[in-house]
Symmetry: C2
Subunit: 300 residues, 2 copies
């Protein structure tokens, strides 16, 4: 199965794009909605919660997992890829949304590998709108400087956008005040961005309101669609992982909160009704050797 | 020690009132900030998380625990008092904030016991502003109907108020839009309330903005002060529990998130700097007999 993880409901928007692009595969979606949102939590906690969720997906039979959560991709993915998988799960893969999103922001083809291809000569300005934790992690900046060092990146934290979406406040004067509050420092730059990425899976639900506030000359990137396209490309380039995935078109949904509660609230994000099951995650206790990993290098 | 629990930072406002009213006791404050806020989670999850937190406080040496969280008091306290304590902790006590708040809303002296004293003849209208989960639980309604059946209670859910406080958005057009949105159905009743209780520990930080929006003839009840006053009275009436509490004036702070992260963000709520420690909670697995408890009666 393909595992898809998000802290909350938002990842259902990415899942929808995956269903459209790659309908034949079997999917298991997990939302850690009992502990969402992650965007303002500490890096250590985001790392622990994400790893517990990924391990649960592995135990259910997923061999490739997509972190549809930007905060998890920004805060936990490097740890999982560089420490956890080589040691405990060498044949499994975990992919994030930051890297494909940066490729799309730059306008690069999928799968560009830093060091193997020359950096893009793209110049100008692009912007990422994201949670506080994603911005503070500078994950988008780190990837972008490797792939297109002459491109200027604006990273803007958007406090309250996730709570607005979760409360169903997608338009109106209150919502637009907080949308404008985060957009103003981006749009009023001397050199405003050519492209804006919505770097949080909740934000696509704010698109109608955002389109009214962002000038039409600025492209707004839909993360769900670009992640699905680039994941399809990744599968084509990695037959050793693609061949492990079953193809019965099955779709399972799991949550750490009450399943009926989750399904009732998630229906709007997915676009149709579904039933969910309860996932009980096990705490991951650090092994002694993992306690000695360089804290600043990998647990930013 | 006296244990004080809240899902997040908000309980520090109650803790401050306890320090003022009862400075001699030893306190241990626990915030489950890695999983806050609780206000929109399912009843089962709130119950589990609260019980894990209470058990951690017991293990640290607390014999009396105050649930400073309205959502936990509304959703988990009955389960803990009626099922968990008699079975596992017969000599420990857990108290909530709903009952003392209802007494204060009615204007009753502390410790009024339903069935032993005749119901209050108070009439008129009062209001509680709270999270979605607290309102849905009807905990304020249940207590109020026992103590003052002829009093009319307005219960108003205030979505986004907790995220506004956590984002530091305490005033301005955006915040006031969402304050007004919840206040309008309360204030525009044919019979507006004589008293309004802020039934969430985060809300006192919105008081300056709320005072501008609520007519001066309506009394706004400060939950921290009333909980501290009524807890002092409870201690005086329960020497068998009061005598177990140590009195060295010590104050410990614990969080399930990163301690430095929590202390930096909690300073504004407490009014002064503090250091915190990390609490690692253990999942409470239901015993077979507990699985058969009446689900609707006790796990609403």
């Amino acid at each position: 199965m393909i595992g898809v993880f998000d802290s909350g409901f938002g990842g259902l928007t990415v899942l929808n794009s995956l269903f459209e692009a790659l309908p034949a595969y079997d999917y298991l979606f997990l939302a850690d909605s009992a502990r969402a949102p992650y965007g303002a939590r500490s890096p250590d906690v985001i790392n622990d919660f994400t790893l517990e969720s990924v391990e649960w997906l592995f135990e259910q039979g997923c061999t490739t997992v997509i972190l549809a959560c930007n905060t998890s991709s920004a805060r936990a993915l490097r740890n999982i890829q560089q420490l956890h998988l080589p040691r405990h799960r060498p044949h499994h893969r975990v992919l994030g949304v930051v890297r494909p999103s940066v490729e799309a922001l730059i306008g690069l083809p999928p799968g560009t590998i830093p060091g193997e291809t020359p950096p893009s000569s793209a110049s100008g300005t692009v912007a990422v709108l994201a949670t506080e934790s994603t911005v503070t992690s500078d994950s988008y900046g780190i990837e972008l400087r490797k792939l297109a060092p002459s491109l200027t990146l604006i990273q803007q934290a958007c406090p309250l956008w996730v709570p607005l979406v979760e409360a169903g406040e997608l338009s109106g004067p209150g919502a637009e005040f907080f949308l404008q509050r985060a957009l103003t420092p981006v749009l009023e730059r001397p050199e405003p961005p050519q492209r804006i990425l919505l770097g949080c899976t909740h934000f696509p639900l704010l698109l109608p309101a955002l389109r009214r506030l962002i000038p039409p000359g600025i492209e707004i990137l839909d993360q769900g669609a670009l992640v699905a396209t680039r994941f399809a490309d990744w599968l084509a380039r990695h037959p050793e992982h693609e061949s492990k995935l079953t193809r019965h078109g099955s779709r399972r949904f799991a949550t750490t909160d009450d399943p009926a509660w989750f399904a009732a609230r998630g229906e709007r994000m997915l676009g149709h009704a579904f039933t969910a099951e309860r996932a009980r995650l096990r705490p991951i206790l650090p092994t002694p050797s993992e306690d000695h990993r360089p804290p600043n290098a990998l647990r930013r």
